[in-house]
Subunit: 228 residues, 2 copies
Amino acid sequence: MSKTKSQNTIKALEIMEGNRPDTATRILDVAERLFVEHGFEATSLRMITQQAEVNLAAVNYHFGSKDALFESVFLRRLAPLLEGCLAELDTLEARQGDLPLEQLVLSFIRPCLALSKDPSRGGAMFVRLLSRTLVENHRLLRETISQQYSVFVQRYTSAFQRALPHLEPEQLAWRMHLAFSVMFNAFAGNDVLKIFTRSQIVTARDPDMIVKYLVPFVIAGLVAPIEG
Amino acid sequence: MSKTKSQNTIKALEIMEGNRPDTATRILDVAERLFVEHGFEATSLRMITQQAEVNLAAVNYHFGSKDALFESVFLRRLAPLLEGCLAELDTLEARQGDLPLEQLVLSFIRPCLALSKDPSRGGAMFVRLLSRTLVENHRLLRETISQQYSVFVQRYTSAFQRALPHLEPEQLAWRMHLAFSVMFNAFAGNDVLKIFTRSQIVTARDPDMIVKYLVPFVIAGLVAPIEG
DNA sequence: GTCTATAGACCGATAGAC
DNA sequence: GTCTATCGGTCTATAGAC
């Protein structure tokens, strides 16, 4: 009897609060935002559980540790994103063989753009999380991720080689490095200049605007004449 | 008497250890490296004082607080670097009036390169610190720095306007944003792709190599044709 | 200026009741 | 699954001897 009453109470709360997600999901959502805002070290389990309105012990019950929670937060977004990029590559290459450079760049940008515009997947949150995690040099990136997703870079390197066949391997590696660096930081909203200025032009972070200015810049950099 | 003996002992130690810098400098040097490696939050005063071989209380004696120490670490490098860039601009503009784009880009890159190659100023350490601080959205950058150094961006914006007179203000703001983003992350050694691959080509971080591939990429992006 | 000792607060993790 | 209570550890900052 008391069990039934308890379940009814919970269901009433869910309806009241608009289908409140389960505890694990609530923790993931809040942790994602706090890890982005404050970083891994500066985000305490107490901050997470208070804002998620769950008990402190729930994190360790559902995820085992703070490190494991971080891994769950991270992989929840990374895996679908990279699979989306590779699916784009598959579709485009099946249709037309080797890709021209712009199609190749767009096959990466389109899934990033779709993610950035989808609030149900946290919007631009994950790109910013990746940015922080990269700079913080988290153990997860050095150990777990690099092995699981190396196929991603291999596929893109191979496609870029065919799109830019005149570039030597070292040239190509550097240009891909610079190109992905600028794409990635554009989506993450990392703006060095905003430190020093209050300009509102670039800070809007509208994803469509990013793409409008980003794509020509990246393409031009990739096809730049080789210095002699 | 005991004072003289104590001073002699210190002097002997200095000679033995090769002119050991004073306590404040030792703290600054170690803190700079640890803030880069572990971030502000994850770096404790205990880590700093132990590696600097000074007493724990020395930080609060010399700098007042952990926040104030961070500010000292940061401004010790930023102020001379930005002054170096503006001095380059002054010299070049005095010699030849409005600068062609490549000279303009180099007026920023040369001081960065000089800093990166100078171990006595911490080498590339400061660019990496700036990168972390930017991503960590530290209060210092939002409040103190942005006011003091806004003249830096104003000078460069004005010079870029004259070098690229056909660009509308919004176009120019975005291209400067993307250009400084890629230059800055190249010097900081931030490489998204290295997460997924073990390629050693780009990870060398040789500053001259960076410039060799960076400058053509940035120039090409800045002068890219405008999309119709 | 340098040091010891410690205050006062917060941390991640867990045992155990329900 | 959820909760309380708590352990053992860390942190920054400071008081006060020398």
